[in-house]
Symmetry: C2
Subunit: 587 residues, 2 copies
């Protein structure tokens, strides 16, 4: 027994108790005949004090302590004269009379404090020191608390956690697989699962009824954006359910996690159709923590000779804008920045029309030449403009306008601090289309995956107008991030074959790609559906991180490297020989 | 909403309620104007009944049903005339008036019943049907219940579940690694973890204090015995603890799991030293559900001319035996079988001496020539023989005698049904040696792994008599299976280096193999220790399985193949090209 208490639990009520603590030296302050030590463990920090009088030997030993030394101390809890209201143990200190150095420490390469002087790369290399920082420590604790709350809820709803294998068969779907050479059968490979999608559907065929798993998934993708080669999903599937059952169950779970982790009572989740999400927010994962809807103007525009708008409407394009509330005073420079923003290559607008509704009642616009003040006010009315507002309007292909204005409203929110700290927006996006047309090849592809069930009421359009068919597919969006995706699956072979045919797959391709799953479906597949949560992203949102690296204990750097372990690495040639593989030499 | 109740919940108290059920058709019995259907889901079986009168259409549809059809039915709960006491729903049946076929089913390749007509290979290929059998379904549910109980206990003790990465660095220790080629950096590889040993120790360096994880581990070993290439551990580590803290904590956890899963109150766990385990039971994982200790006779043997015993003692070998209680009536044939058993090559005894204490009071022995009846009775006294007992004695090298008699006592227990059904033996084996000598090379190797801490009181023998040094290493043994292994780790660099030196490692080897971990230990490693449970084996024991295959949802066959998914498999040559690896062609 190295301790009787932790460094986070002593209070004024413990005064006069004799206790033993163990932990790391955060700081040592020597003021002549007194030494003060801040002792840290996972649970908190306790101030130790040691006077030279009567403890000469211990006092001398204390002189040797450096930052991050591991020590054990025994002493009596006393009330502090100068209290520290910032920490729970701030009312007491421990007058120590015994001190043991359990381990020495070299000076760490960066300071073990929330505001560390170490850059991210250095901190990733010494991740075991980075985790000592209360910030990251608390992220890992919150992560565990969240996952515990997820399990608690699902267990209470009769879900069974089932572990699915990680050495599976490579499937030609989706992202690139990580492969694992088989030593027992040279020339063959296992794949690490991109998700347990097929296995969880088989568990429904197996009658498990309600399944979940907190599970590692693997995708060998290039590191664009915030990706990790291995990441964690909460993977779920239910039998004998429709969409409503899923919404009810997982809305409940998310609320439970918020309540248990942050004591927040979330309101009921609204449902936004995919079509409306694009129309009003230009994104299928809009951030609804602030208003600023996109307003379509094709019908509302007053008659004018302005060729940009007129030509757009004639070409069947979209004229639409956003109302930047309170931004009428934006300078030329600020307006130029916003124009550059929407002209960036991945947005590709050619420009923005602006209309300023000044505080003094005047209206100024970049298209004053083409519109009278009355007409501008008419547009302003359509867009809910009031004194002080700035309208920003684009007129191009609908998809481009929506994407750009969707991004623009996020950019404005950032500039104008429209998002209240601690506010949450969680809702469902529903009615995704089943198919989409590849803009280049004209081919019809599935939007999610080929097992998503069409809306029964849209089956009538399946042959005549397939792009009109909605899928029983849904996302959950949290503060502008997709944290859940799922669908009701197709459980009938006939319908599944119709979908495959629509995708242009031959019988042979179908068998090669999905045969083993379709075979299972011959033996009584129940109606079923499910979803998967992106746990890392959800943790990131709950803990205020900026990338999912911030929400895992040992993340990979952006090039897929583990800087701490220095992996991947070369291996003993004998290992490869045993596996029957060789490295291809580059010329 | 496909159902208002499950097939497991209707009772006599529900009579007259109108309910909707959904599930699989277990059986259909048509007796003229009545049809009886057993409807099955995860929760149970409910009998449906349907009369032709007034439901002609539904009745006709019911005629089309086959085994494993998925159906939805609505009807009124009524009391049965002939009740079935074997199932919880046996007092009622559902008089149905609506029936929907949700999915048809082909005839499954084996019967979906606990006593199935399908062999193991067929059932593994159609694992999704195998899991429909209540037996396997209940194993998976018990597994989930057990793991939930483990988490519940550890959460309550302030452990934090932390996920460690699965794409790590290949380490030259222990078993063979599974490798994963890196596409981003050709010629380098990740390895799948054999266990998170190093990472969990780093979490202690990181100050996480108490860690656990239910985690997949990977070992590319040949399939001798009951192994799987991927298996599940409950992996745990604690800081600022000694062995007593570990024993207390994990004894408590195991008791909690038994209580929660099987409502069994286990008694406190005894501790058996490694030396005593070998001495009395010939095994470091003895089954203590029955007595039958090995008795050493070197000191107790009466004087005689019997050369086998005399020579053995003279050579420093061991004479020892077991008392096969109640086996005095064994025939010549039975005795020969036991002799063959201990002569098997992996045991390697050359024979057994037997002494029968017959029920009529006479004593007969295979060494009557060398011992008087008085002397035989003297041996009998040393071994606790009573009327009806059979003594079996060996005299060879101690390790051989112990191994053979240890196996022999298990064999006798099996033949004689000495193990009461439902009995449990759970205890700790402690004081393993730190080092062992390789019998062939004479080299000193570590017994567990090189981070195990020596017993402080044995450090005195470290240089003079290293084989005498006990480690702070412990196993938990359950019904003769090791289900936990662990140790207090070395946290001081000096001591770690002494161990490495004793193992004959050079500075360079040390750095290559363990550098990254030793580096972490420079910055204040706390005293720590931990353990890992073999979850699959524990589940197997709790659910009466015979191999760990029986305790997982989707196991691999003995050649490492997944028969259901047909993995490992060949992959698209393009995938290999992207990874920069090629298959070595055999000549």
């Amino acid at each position: 027994m190295y301790r009787t208490k932790t460094c986070g639990e002593l209070r004024i009520s413990n005064v006069n108790e004799t206790v033993t603590l163990a932990g790391w030296v955060q700081t040592v302050r020597n003021i002549g005949h007194l030494v003060f030590i801040d002792l840290r463990d996972r649970y908190g920090i306790t101030q130790l004090s040691l006077s030279r009088d009567g403890h000469a030997e211990v006092f001398e030993l204390a002189g040797k302590l450096g930052r991050e030394y591991v020590i054990q101390v025994t002493g009596r809890v006393t009330e502090r004269t100068s209290k520290n209201a910032n920490i729970p143990t701030g009312e007491i200190e421990l007058l120590i009379d015994q001190l043991t150095i359990l381990n020495e420490a070299e000076t760490p390469p960066f300071t073990i404090e929330n505001e560390s002087d170490g850059g991210e790369e250095l901190r990733m290399k010494y991740r075991y020191l980075d985790i000592r920082r209360p910030l990251l420590r608390d992220v890992l604790i919150t992560r565990a608390t969240m996952i515990r709350a997820m399990r608690e809820y699902l267990d209470s709803k009769n879900f069974i956690e089932v572990e699915t294998p990680n050495l599976i068969k490579s499937t030609p779907e989706g992202a690139r697989d990580f492969l694992v050479p088989s030593r027992m059968q040279h020339g063959t490979f296992y794949a690490l699962p991109q998700s347990p999608q097929i296995l969880k559907q088989l568990l429904m065929v197996a009658g498990m009824d309600r399944y979940y798993q907190v599970v590692k998934c693997y995708r060998d993708e290039d590191f664009r954006g915030d990706r990790q080669p291995e990441f964690t999903q909460l993977d779920c599937e239910m039998s004998f359910v429709d969409q409503e059952d899923i919404f009810e169950n997982f809305s409940g779970m998310v609320k439970h996690v918020f309540k248990k982790t942050k004591n927040i009572d979330l309101p009921d989740f609204i449902r936004l159709t995919y079509a409306d999400a694009l129309k009003y927010y230009g994104s299928d994962k809009p951030d609804l923590r602030f208003e600023c809807k996109i307003v379509e103007l094709n019908e509302a525009l007053p008659k004018s000779e302005f060729p940009v708008f007129n030509n757009a409407i004639a070409a069947g394009n979209l004229v639409a804008g956003v109302n930047a509330k309170g931004c009428a005073a934006y300078t030329r420079k600020q307006l130029d920045e916003l124009t550059e923003f929407v002209k960036a290559s991945h947005r590709g607008l050619s420009g923005l029309v602006n209309i300023k509704f000044n505080e003094d009642g005047t209206v100024k616009s970049s298209v004053d030449k083409f519109y009278t003040e009355e007409q501008l006010k008419e547009i302003g009315k359509a867009m809910g403009a009031q004194k002080g507002d700035l309208l920003l309007i684009a007129a191009e292909k609908a998809s481009k306008v929506r994407k750009s204005l969707g991004d623009l409203r996020l950019e404005l929110a950032k500039r104008e601090n429209w998002i209240a700290p601690g506010s949450w927006s969680v809702f469902w996006v529903v009615d995704f289309p089943l198919f989409e047309k590849d803009e280049e090849t004209g081919e019809i592809n599935f939007v999610h995956h080929p097992f998503c069930s069409p809306h029964p009421e849209d089956l009538q359009y399946f042959d005549s107008d397939p792009l009109r068919v909605r899928a029983q597919t849904y996302d959950m969006v949290m503060n502008g991030n997709e944290i859940l995706s799922g669908s009701i699956r197709i459980h009938q072979r006939d319908l599944q074959n119709r979908v495959f045919n629509k995708l242009g797959l031959t019988e042979e391709e179908i068998n090669h790609k999905f045969g083993f799953m379709l075979n299972a479906f011959r033996y009584g597949a129940p109606p079923h559906g499910g979803c998967a949560f992106g746990v890392d992203r959800w943790v990131m949102l709950m803990t205020g991180g900026e990338t999912i690296r911030d929400s895992m204990a040992f993340p990979k750097a952006s090039n897929g490297r583990d800087l701490m372990m220095d992996a991947p690495a070369t291996v003993d040639p004998k290992q490869l020989e045993e596996l029957g593989v060789a490295i291809i030499k580059k010329d």
